[in-house]
Amino acid sequence: MSSVSVIYALMFYFATAVIVVGVGRKIAQYARTPAPLKIPTTPAPVTKGGVVVRMAKEVVLFASLFKSNKWIWIFGWMFHFALLLVLLRHLRYFTDPVWEWVALIQPFGKYAAFAMLAGLAGLWARRIVVDRVRYITGPSDHLMLALLVGIGITGALMTYVSHTDIVAVKAFFIGLITFNWQPLPTDGVLLAHLGLVVALMIVFPFSKLLHAPGVFFSPTRNQVDNPREKRHVAPWAAKLDAREE
């Protein structure tokens, strides 16, 4: 096995550990922190079921963003759902035999790369063209877009231009999962693609990508509107009551 294969194997183990532990810790932190007051943005659902529907609309359709700005919505939604398709398509490199539904979406997933890049391009253009968005954009925002665009372009290159030895790539990843390491092909595009993916996995828990778990914990979206019916008291606030009695 080449040293490149070993380095990439170690990188992937490291990146997986970082993203799993990092995001896990963040989720634990969010879950632990109380929301002492009822602050759903109203009108809000009055039942738990209603909250599930509200949250689903936010996560699947980006409902608030749709109300807000159609351009950001189009580009943002296109990017995220293309990314989802692409990720699902990639399951074929981690499963043997390939699950049937993964095989089914393969043709769509291949084209999704373009939708993903188009969405990213639109979002990036707004950061340059719209003065308000330019003002709030920092270096890390450009960097994040560069990472994603880099991943998209290198991926599309392998699909459409310079094919890599995909059978070997799959063997490498299954080897990682089963701790039975296999060599990784060493063509430049593949290594760039995987290197960028590793970088993205590592920055995930330390960046704004935390919006992914964050949205589920947002009290303005996930609270039931029932403060008159049900008393809502955080543990630290309950101590204030106890002190007086």
């Binding site: 936010e58 700005n69 968005v133 709030i136 704004k208």
Partner: protein, 510 residues
Amino acid sequence: MAKVDFDTPEMQEVSILPKIKPGSMEHSSPFVAKDIHQEPLGFPGELVENFEEKVVEKMGDLLDKYRGFRVFLDSCVKCGACTDKCHYYLGTSDPKNMPVGRQDLLRSVYRRYFTFAGKYFPKLVGARDVSKEVLDEWHSYFHQCSQCRRCSVFCPYGIDTAEISMAAREILDSVGYGQKYCNEIIGKVFKIGNNLGLPGPALEDTLEGLEEDVMDDTGVEVKFPLDVQGAEVLLVTPSADFFAEPHIDGLMGYAKVFHAAGISWTISSYASEAANFGMFIGSYDNMRKISQRIRKAAMDLGVKRIVFGECGHAWRVAYSFLNTLAGPWDFLDPKYPVPQHILEVTHGLIQEGKLNIDKSRNDDIVPTFHDSCNVARASRMGDKPGGQFEIPREVIKAVCNNYVDMAPGTTHEATFCCGGGGGLLTDDLMEIRVKGALPRMEAYKQVTENNGVTNIVAICAICKAQFTKILPFYGFGMDAIMSAHQLVSNAIVLEGEGQDDADESEASEA
């Protein structure tokens, strides 16, 4: 009054999105609280020496106590969806008045001390150290936010800049750098019982005066009871209702409704204030202390129900927080929600046909309705989501013939703030108040021109006071603003009304 030296923005037919003008409002900052305003609330009297440390410490404390604060600081992706949603940005073009721009003033400090990226790559993620300049900037721009939550409606993650503003003000207070207006007022509540510092005897006089006014108007003896033991309803209303125009006409409306329905009620001199500025300064402790006064008053007077008068943020604290802060309310009549809004009461009575209404008495008025932010986006009325929009409109339509709504996108959950909420209703912030009212004034102008609207109706003490002040800046009369219950008061026909008139004239003839 502070010198007003700025241009009122021009109203547009179709709102045009302004280009950013960095720094255009950095001169706007409210008076700093002195020790006499700070200390009664449990805050240091002046900026503490080691404030750098203390700011970080307080921020850490809030991060552990409020999930929203933490999640909002982490989750913003700088998508820009909120950038054109704040009335203060639309009225000033200052990018630090874009919700995300405002959040970033605090997020930059959060990142520096509480995130890996900010600790090791501050430039990359725009992280910065605490300094006096940073606190000055917070004092300025977190008092250019009326905590109206319009941004939170439009953010894909529901990021609520109001929560960030409250936290920022709480941090500023905790290091001795508070805002005079809010803190002075909270001090008055603790000392006297209401924001105005109106003591019991003065309140009694005022209420007697009101009884006479109603008597003169209608010839009916409508009571304005104070501290009546065993009344059914405790009415908690913003103290502006006791003396300010058009608030006072609203209070007359509540009194007539109670009178007509035969509901015994009382005001409490101990809790003679619905407003709760503890919310504006983000202080759970102060908000709780103020709320506890209502609990004590309700217990002492032995009432069965609590009803709140027309006020936006007060209704938020009442509807959303009162159960948390001062509950449980198991000693009150379980047949009624605790608390109730006066509009819920009036609406119910109208539905049951218990009020005798003559709509034509409001025929000289073509009203539109201004949804107050805190009612629209932070609370509810009735038992269905959106009741906070329907109930006020249904009541208005039940008492007058000519109701007109303002343009969609400026009402309901997308309503524009009056420009004076969230602890900004002070003369030292006149410029931002006038400029922030621009989007609402544009929408109002449209219906005055296209639909002949004559009046704008509000259900919030702050909105009413703010409009009285700023309407003239935009070329409208200050008396265009009305209370919702003022319309009710006009239209309600009391039993025996007019009869006394006859008696009186007879008497004078004799």
